[in-house]
């Protein structure tokens, strides 16, 4: 396997993503966690880009960074008082969780490396974006409709719950 600069980009992105992810769970300041989270999202978007899923990369930035991360930061700010200062961030089961997570990682890696994935050595020859667009109105029209309802329901619900009394 020849190491190309794609590999290097991949390694950089993967390292960045995982580092940011670690930052998310290790940071003692909630707001910093959120910043790390944004970094992780961006790293994942980069990985999508590397996987030739441009649309998804952009969607990742738009939805995760533009919407979800903003919401999270918003929530952190709206519940002020919990963010400033270095308070204990982990619960009593942090230690065991770390062990569980580490074991899980080992197990998953083992499984993922063991499985003989039916990889197809083929370049992407078509532009996926029109395909995605078309999929949404043909094969996936039912889930598309469902998620439309789901989103409206979720937003109405969120507003209803979060509205000031």
């Amino acid at each position: 396997m020849a190491i190309t600069y794609l590999h290097l980009i991949f390694l950089a992105l993967a390292g960045f993503t995982l580092l940011c992810a670690l930052g998310v769970v290790a940071s003692r300041n909630l707001f910093h966690s959120a910043i790390w989270l944004i970094g992780a999202f961006a790293g994942v978007a980069g990985l999508y880009w590397l996987l030739e899923a441009e649309y998804l990369a952009i969607a990742q930035i738009m939805i995760y960074i533009g919407a979800i991360a903003t919401l999270i930061v918003f929530a952190i700010m709206l519940s002020r008082g919990m963010m400033i200062g270095r308070v204990k961030m982990n619960n009593f089961q942090a230690g065991i969780s770390a062990v569980v997570a580490a074991l899980l990682f080992l197990m998953l890696s083992f499984v993922l490396l063991q499985v003989n994935w039916p990889v197809v050595e083929q370049a992407v020859s078509v532009d996926p974006i029109p395909m995605i667009g078309e999929a949404f109105v043909t094969t996936y029209v039912i889930p598309f409709q469902v998620i439309a309802v789901l989103l409206s329901v979720a937003l109405v619900g969120a507003i209803m719950i979060a509205r000031e009394r």
Binding site: I142, I161, R165
Partner: protein, 496 residues
């Protein structure tokens, strides 16, 4: 989209329209009539959807763009759940009146969750499975946290949410693995792709881990141990009508998804999931029952009982005859596990909703939900006490109630496959369960009343109690048609 496809999703369409109608009607109704009108619209919508679902009973399985499959299995559960939701709506009327705000949204949410469940029971694609499960969950989070000013409701919702979100994410990871190894998300196609696989080496590991990951998600939704921790808190804190919903319709949706995924998509991995689920089933019923013994809050008690019941229901899935993957005619399998699940769920929906109707009746008037507040209920309201007794007997599985038939069929499935360990655990659990159900009975009938105030039954609750009573006892005495319907419905899945 042909006409029959449209017919297949007609229940869902009706529900969407009626959900919108509820919100719209809210704007044009007079304040005083509002509660009844809103609930009325919701009930009509649900009933129409139920009728639409009922017209599908017995038709040939209808695939909607490969995403949904409307077959006997799904129509059975659809009809069951929709009728259950009608009851939920009706018994919510007085409860929600006390809350005072966002009532139209409440009913719209109930309709939305009913929609989600109709989708869940017919989901035939991993994407739809995940989507439907999240739809049910997200709507439920909102409903659980509906009492915004109530700390308990808030807490219940947040716990439910956090557990649910983690569980569904974990499940999703399993789904992604299945997608990776098969390259498809359609359940039948997944099964086909896996059929040729020799479960050697890596595949065995993959099978095991994806099964475990999937069970986490389904286990959450159906409150199986050890993914049940949310259930007691959530059941206790949620608005009581919603607790009733969570323990019945929501659980039915979870089981529907689980059964379909495991049986349709993963027959090749059956060895793995049967083993894991058998263990889960035993732990679930045992732990649920043991902890239920110690509960003092009736909602919490019913929560643990509901966990234990999930363990029994799971027996049906664990005990599908292995040979059934080799397509044998139904006659050989009058007890094929799946019809046990269906009958059990049917029984459970009506029984538990009835029980919750009683709880609501008492809560609405006295605001109390502790078991000790049920002391001497027989003096305060003989009807409520007697009805609750019948529902509790049904939960215990005493004939001639509907609950007995549910147990009968899942136990039968276990006997059929000669799963003795499971049977012994189930047997012991039946006795433990009787302990806490009878404890309520003891308070109701054998203890003196602390408060002599008589408890009135609101007309809406009267309707619910009447329907559930007739279902539990009437169908308990003459269960033939139900058994037939369930067995025919199960056939669709068994022969897949």
């Amino acid at each position: 989209m042909t006409a029959s496809t449209l017919q297949a999703i007609l229940p869902a369409i009706i529900l969407v329209i009626s959900a919108m109608a509820v919100v719209a009607v809210d704007l044009i109704t007079h304040r005083r009539a509002r509660d009844v009108v809103l609930a009325g619209v919701a009930v009509v919508g649900l009933l129409l959807a139920a009728v639409a679902a009922f017209t599908l009973v017995g038709t040939t399985p209808q695939s909607v763009l490969d995403m949904l499959v409307v077959d006997g299995f799904s129509t059975f559960l659809m009809v069951t759940v929709l009728i259950g939701m009608v009851l939920v709506v009706i018994y919510s009327i007085d409860y929600i009146k006390l809350v005072g705000e966002h009532r139209s949204e409440y009913y719209a949410f109930l309709l939305a969750v009913a929609l989600a469940i109709t989708i869940a029971v017919s989901a035939n694609d991993l994407l739809m499975v995940y989507l439907a499960m999240e739809f049910v969950s997200i709507t439920s989070y909102v409903l659980v946290g509906f009492l915004r000013g109530d700390k308990r409701s808030n807490e219940a919702a947040i716990k439910y949410f956090l557990y649910g979100a983690v569980a569904s994410a974990v499940m999703l990871y399993g789904i992604s693995m299945l997608f990776g190894v098969t390259g498809t998300t359609n359940l039948n196609a997944v099964a086909q792709a896996l059929a040729g696989e020799t479960l050697a080496g890596g595949m065995r590991w993959l099978a095991f881990s994806s099964v475990v990951l999937l069970i986490v998600g389904f286990g959450f939704k159906t409150s199986l141990v050890p993914f049940h921790q949310w259930a007691p808190d959530t059941y206790e804190g949620a608005p009581t009508p919603i607790t009733g919903f969570l323990s019945t319709a929501s659980k039915a949706a979870g089981f529907a998804l689980m059964v379909r995924v495991f049986i349709v998509a993963l027959p090749s991995f059956a060895v793995d999931w049967l083993t894991v689920l058998a263990g889960v089933s035993m732990i679930t019923m045992t732990l649920g029952n043991l902890v239920a013994l110690r509960q003092t809050n009736i909602k919490r008690l019913l929560a643990y009982s509901s966990i234990a019941q999930a363990g029994y229901i799971l027996m049906g899935l664990v005990c599908i005859p292995q040979a059934q993957f080799g397509l044998r005619p139904l006659q050989d399998f009058a007890f094929n596990g799946i019809n046990g699940i269906l009958i059990y769920l049917f029984a459970y929906v009506f029984t538990n909703l009835g029980a919750f109707a009683v709880v609501i009746a008492i809560e609405n008037q006295t605001g109390k939900v502790d078991v000790k507040d049920y002391a001497g209920l027989i003096y305060r309201s003989p009807w409520l006490a007697s009805l609750l007794l019948i529902f509790l007997l049904s939960l215990t599985g005493i004939p001639p109630t509907l609950g007995f038939w549910g147990k009968y069929f899942v136990f039968g499935a276990a006997v059929q496959v000669q799963f003795f360990a499971l049977l012994i655990v189930a047997l012991i659990n039946s006795a433990i369960a009787a302990g806490y159900y009878l404890n309520i009975v003891r308070y109701m009938f054998l203890m003196p009343a602390e408060d002599e105030e008589r408890i009135k039954i609101a007309p809406s609750l009267g309707i619910v109690l009447g329907v559930t009573f007739v279902a539990v006892l009437g169908l308990g005495i003459l269960p033939g048609q139900l058994i037939q319907w369930a067995s025919e419905s199960a056939q669709f899945l068994v022969q897949f």
